[in-house]
């Protein structure tokens, strides 16, 4: 995995599909992407957008077919688009309630990102000023996983005119602003994980072994990072997320007492107490892909690329590094 000289500073890895997630997904996504691209461009931050269109539903147009018209700021030459065959979702699933294996999708993007740093985020996350300033200054260090707290914007806020004034107005916040707490600096981790590319490859991305839940996989990557001797730091400011229907943040207790039925999986799994060792083929590394255009690829289905359904030896105890925090405490599930 050598670094190319023309590698951008940062690859922004996003995943999604045209399935109406959270209600009017594409509108929220395009609006957010436009804002972020404008900010990145105005600050001269060299970047690429790596988008993984995971298991797109049949019968709906692909996002790639809509986005170039809807987001004029998106330069196809700095865009790397990967459409992943829908059969991977079914073949990899260990929980039929999970309709979207978000972190496997992210791994597809992380593996294929070219940037010196790789930022995994979500399609409805606005980068805050401090985040952009850190990128603009290039004030990033290898072997440091950067986190940003997520500030949730009220559902009722008019999203059609979202700008700094709206995002940074404390009256628009839905609840108190989150503060990251060491050592894990968790909380909405999936919205912002920034790490140098080599380290991301060293830890082999997010956990691909535990495919029973979507929730907690982001927190689990923090355990893996600490266990691998990578430190975790707050980048200095928030990212913003506009609440929407179906968001875990606005309905965390929706499955109280029947956690196993949640469409994000059972949140009580020991995501803070175990680590993992993904196979070298992580991120569908063995999957054949076809070029459909200059920056557009289709990841074809092959059983050879599908890891075993069960690979228990790859769930391991996290290592307590000298000076680092101890692994998580046991929490009784049942």
């Amino acid at each position: 995995m050598s670094r190319r000289d023309d590698a951008p500073l940062v690859s922004i890895v996003l995943t999604g599909r045209n399935d109406g997630y959270g209600g009017d997904f594409t509108t929220r996504f395009f609006r957010t992407l436009r804002f972020n691209l404008q900010q990145l461009a105005s600050r001269g931050i060299s970047h690429e957008i790596v988008f993984v269109e995971w298991a797109p539903p049949a019968g709906s147009p692909l996002l790639i077919d809509q986005i170039l018209g809807a987001v004029p700021e998106l330069d196809p030459s700095i865009c790397s688009w990967w459409v992943v065959d829908g059969r991977y979702q079914e073949a990899l699933s260990l929980n039929p309630r999970l309709e979207y294996l978000e972190f496997l999708a992210k791994n597809v993007g992380v593996r294929r990102a070219r940037g010196r740093f790789v930022l995994t985020s979500n399609c409805d996350v606005y980068f805050g000023r401090r985040v952009l300033e850190a990128l603009e200054r290039g004030a990033l260090h290898p072997r440091v996983l950067y986190r940003a707290p997520r500030h949730d914007i009220k559902l009722a806020v008019d999203q059609s005119t979202l700008d700094w004034r709206v995002l940074e107005d404390p009256r628009n916040l839905d609840g108190p602003a989150h503060v990251l707490k060491p050592p894990y600096m968790g909380s909405a981790t999936g919205d912002f994980v920034l790490l140098d590319r080599e380290s991301f490859h060293e830890i082999r991305g997010f956990n691909e072994i535990y495919r029973v839940a979507r929730i907690g996989i982001d927190r689990n990557v923090l355990v893996k990072a600490l266990s691998s001797g990578i430190s975790i730091a707050d980048i200095g400011g928030p990212v913003y997320h506009v609440n929407h229907v179906g968001s875990y943040r606005i309905s965390p207790a929706a499955y109280a007492g029947r956690e196993a039925e949640a469409h994000w999986g059972d949140r009580r799994w020991h995501s803070g107490g175990v680590s993992y060792t993904n196979p070298p083929t992580w991120g569908l590394g063995e999957a054949p892909d076809r070029r459909l255009g200059e920056h557009l690829h289709y990841v074809d289905f092959s059983w050879d690329a599908v890891p075993p359904l069960v690979d228990l030896r790859r769930i391991v105890l996290p290592a307590a590094r000298r000076g680092g925090p101890m692994p998580g405490h046991y929490v009784r599930k049942r």
Partner: protein, 136 residues
Amino acid sequence: MSRLLAAIASTLGIVSARRHRALQAQAADLKSAVAEWKSKATDATNRMRTLEQELRRQTQINEKLRASADKAKQKQGDIEKLRAQLQNAERELAGAREHLMVIEVKLDILEGAANVLDARTRTAVARSAGGTGAPV
């Protein structure tokens, strides 16, 4: 002459009246002193007995304290042993909990895999039987 008479009288055990009075007074003083010293000796003897008793009592207390100190020292040693055992037990418990977490996570995976395989098998069986593929 008078000296000679005095010497003869002295030889015969005869003293002058004045001398006799003086000696009587001296004897009385001595008796009084003897009585006083006897009293002091009695007091001192009593005091000595008291002090001896006190010494015995203090010796007993000292022995008791020494025994208590020995016991306390032994207990302190026991406490330190118990503390070390407790720390070991806590470490082992933490280790057991970590292993328990790993086991539970693996069980989750096995349960998920079993459910998925069950569903796939049912679908395959239904298909091979010419059914619709719906769960049976």
